[in-house]
Structures are given as structure tokens and as C-alpha cells.
Amino acid sequence: MNAATDSLPVMAVRRVGAVSLFFMQILARIGPALARPGLIVRQIYNAGARSLVIIMLSGMFVGMVLGLLGFDVFQRFGSEDYVGVLAALGNLKVLGPVLTALLFAGRAGTSLTSEIGLMKSTEQLTAMQMMAVDPVRYVVVPRFLGGFIAMPLLAATFTVIALYGAQLIGVQQMGVDAGAYWSQTQNAVDLHDVWEGVAKSVVFGVAVNLVAVYEGYHAEPTPEGVGLATTRTVVVSSVLVLLLNYLLTAAFLTTK
């Protein structure tokens, strides 16, 4: 059981195991935690409402770039009308959920980790245990649920704003015909594509928030430990999101 002498694969397996067990603990306490919706609502506000501005700004810029890129590529084939299709599919299926998850990890994930880590290092979690209160139920689960609920909503906001941004460049600035733009988009996008985006944002929501609360709860209770845990949250959840994105994209392609 000596962590220092374990090889990398053993450490990785052990870590996955530990995170899974922690996830089980969280799942088992979701029921009781729902009895206090106030705690969860506050966390939705913390993770969701407070991330809204950067999500909207980023969505706008990403949509505008897609408008430019789409116009540049499609005009070479004389088919500028397809700008809307690229923007819509790109945003709904990939960019919306992935970029939202990455931004969310940086904005809300880090604050979850450092908040829980600091609560641990100032003995607040021990104090709860001493008051016979389960910190996983009172601290971890509301934060996990708050983030989990906020994530798909943020991804949807991101996507809608990005679509508007793409339209702004494609139609307003580059002069693509608005009717052609929207009708091509309408033809190309079906419900399956929307579901793909929703499913991804839900899965990413679980992944990013689970990593964030796990790292915070298991942080070394020192200033350095909390700092390291926060860094790990960003690194691990970002890589995880990109990996899951590939797997889910492949899975949705085969089920189409």
C-alpha cells in the first residue's frame, strides 16, 4: 500500500478506484441531501450564475470565429449558405459542451476544490464530523449537484449565443442570405444532434464536478496541498473532458 513505490498504472488504477468509491458515496447521499434544497440552490447560483458572464462572452467569440471560418472555407466552393450548418453542428455537438466544460473547470471547478480544501485545512470538515454531521452529505453533495445542474444549462446558453455570433458574422457582416442561412441550418440539424450535445454536457458535468469535489475533499490540508489539488482539478478534468468527448462523438456516430 505504499504509494511511493507503486508504478504508474497501479497508481492510476488505484486513483480511478478511489474516485469511483467516492462517487458511490455521493450517489448514496443524494436522496438525503435533496431534503435541503436551499443548499443546492445556493450552489447552482455559485457554480452557474457566477460563470454566466464568461460563458456568454466566450460563446459569442467562438460563434463569431465559426462564422468567419465557415465563410472562408465555404466561399472557396461557392457554397456560403452552409456557414450556418457548420456553426450549428459544430456548436451543438462539440464546441458548446466541450468549451463550456473546460471553462467551467477553470472557473467553478477550481473554486469548488479550493473551497472544500480550505474547509478541510481549517478543520471545518472535522468539526462537522465531531458534530455528528456527515461532511460528504452537507458539503460535497450539494456542491456536486449544484455544478451538475448548472453545467447543461451553461452549455445550452453557450450554444445559443454562439449560434447568434455566427449569424452575426455570416449574415450581417459577410452578407450571406438570411433565408438560405437558416433554411440550410434547419435542414441539416435534427434532434439527434441536439441530444448529442445535451448528453455530452450532462456527462461532462458529472466528470468535472466529481473531479473537483474529489480533489478538494482529499487535498492535503496545507496551503501547498490545496494549491496542488486545484491544479489537478483543472488538468485532470480538462483531459478527461476531451477524452470523453472523443468517445461520445464516436458512440453517437455509430448510433445515428
Binding site: M119, T122, E123, A127, M130, M131, A132, V133
Partner: protein, 260 residues
């Protein structure tokens, strides 16, 4: 009782008792495991050998549920207060009540205000923990510790880092809690003078065992060298001033070799 971390024994052959309704003090130099002793009593750690009994039951034999039930009969005051930083003073004190009972709000309010009044901070109910001084934070933590009317109150270094006035206040409160509510109190500290004024029984711990026990008065007049060093605050004695090191002269004369 024996407790070891990484093969190094913190306690070996430790045998202490805190009696019902009394204030028992555990004193000792830093690093003798006083806080560890509290962790053993509250079931945050388990003894390797021997037994730790609270309310007559063996702590290590309790299930998680029973352990939590036992802790509901205990209050603990942490070194830095350990207040929940995202709640204000009122909510901090109300926290255990809300977590364990379904009392209507007017009753919760009454309970919380009574306890806050007892520590003299009823007026600070709506302040956040970050707005409190160290002494106030500890008083709030004390109000929170007694809000469920515990049978045992545990104080972990209650005097550390406080100014003389706050120290006096905490001292008086510990005494009051014990006298007015009959709470069995366990105080871990190295502030000899303060403890002497409130403790009924005291144990001096050093190197994992009890060096001396008795009333604070008896300890003051003890002939045991460890006790005299500690009670008198002498820099050198059985607890050496110097951390074990090679001979001073040899190390200096050896030049760089000594440090390699």
C-alpha cells in the same frame, strides 16, 4: 493504551481517567500528542492496544452510526474555532440543531440566542466568522459546542493565541459551563496558570506517558524534574533545549564534512 504512527509510539502504557462532572486538564509540552489523545477519545483514531472508553463503552467497538450517536453527546472546541466560514455566527450555532432536529424556527432561534447570550455574543449574531477576533471566534465555537447540551465538552488548546482578556473570558466560561450545566470537561493545553485556576484534576504528559497527576496545586509542589521544568517554564531540563545533534565542537571543526 498504546497508539503508534508509522511505528513510532505516541502513547505507550498511557492510563488516564476523566471523571464525570469535573474539569480534567491534560498538560504537556508541544508534540506530546495531546491533540492525538483527543482524537482517540472522539473516535477519530483508534488505539493499537488497550482500550478507550467513553460513557462506559469501548470507542473502537462502535459502528459508524453509534459513533455519531456518541458524538452527539459531546461538544468539541477546536484550536482555531473551526467555524463554518460560509455561514454567519447565528447559523453556525444553529447548524447542529438544524442537522439533528426538526425544531420549528422560533425554538431554534431561542436556543441559539440563549447560547450566544451565555458566551456574551448575542449582539454578534449576524456577523460572519471573518469579522470576528480570535477570542470571539472561539466563544462562538463554544456556543456551538454546547447548543446540543452535551454531557462532555472537549477543549483543544482553548487559550492559544489569545490576549489576556479573552483568555480570562474563556477561562471563566469553561468554569461556568462546568458548574452551571454540570458538563464533564476535558481541557488540553499548555497554559499552566490558566489551567491551575479552573481544573479539578490534571495530568502532565510527556513522551507518551503520564509523568505526574493530581490537582494543579500538587503539581506545582512536585519534586519530579519533568514537572518542575514544565510548571516553571525552564528552557533546559529533562526535555533538552538542544535537539539531538552530533557533538558541537566536532561538527564545527569537521567543516563541510559534518553536513554531508
Amino acid at each position: 493504551m498504546r497508539y503508534a504512527v508509522g511505528g513510532r509510539a505516541i502513547f505507550d502504557g498511557l492510563d488516564v481517567t476523566a471523571r464525570r462532572g469535573r474539569i480534567t486538564a491534560f498538560m504537556g509540552p508541544s508534540g506530546t500528542g495531546k491533540t492525538t489523545l483527543l482524537r482517540l477519545i472522539t473516535g477519530q483514531a483508534y488505539a493499537e492496544r488497550g482500550s478507550v472508553r467513553v460513557f462506559g463503552t469501548e470507542v473502537s467497538s462502535l459502528s459508524n452510526k453509534e459513533l455519531f450517536a456518541m458524538r452527539r453527546r459531546m461538544g468539541m472546541l477546536f484550536q482555531n474555532g473551526a467555524l463554518l466560514t460560509d455561514l454567519d455566527v447565528y447559523e453556525n450555532v444553529a447548524f447542529p440543531v438544524r442537522a439533528h432536529t426538526d425544531l420549528p424556527e422560533p425554538l431554534v432561534r431561542q436556543l441559539v440566542l440563549t447560547k450566544l447570550h451565555a458566551v456574551g455574543l448575542r449582539g454578534a449574531a449576524r456577523l460572519m466568522p471573518s469579522e470576528l477576533s480570535g477570542g470571539m471566534a472561539r466563544r462562538v465555537a463554544l456556543a456551538r459546542a454546547i447548543v446540543m447540551d452535551p454531557d462532555i465538552l472537549i477543549y483543544d488548546e482553548p487559550f492559544v493565541g489569545l490576549d489576556p482578556i479573552s483568555m480570562g473570558v474563556i477561562c471563566r466560561l469553561i468554569k461556568q459551563m462546568n458548574e452551571a450545566l454540570g458538563i464533564t470537561s476535558i481541557v488540553v493545553s499548555h497554559d499552566v496558570q490558566e489551567l491551575a485556576s479552573i481544573a479539578h484534576d490534571s495530568f502532565l504528559l510527556s513522551q507518551g506517558r503520564v509523568v505526574a497527576s493530581g490537582t494543579p496545586e500538587e503539581l506545582h509542589h512536585s519534586d519530579i524534574p519533568e514537572v518542575r521544568q514544565f510548571m516553571g517554564g525552564l528552557a533546559d531540563g529533562p526535555v533538552p533545549f538542544h535537539f539531538p545533534a552530533p557533538d558541537y565542537r566536532t561538527e564545527l571543526l569537521d567543516g563541510d564534512e559534518g553536513s554531508r
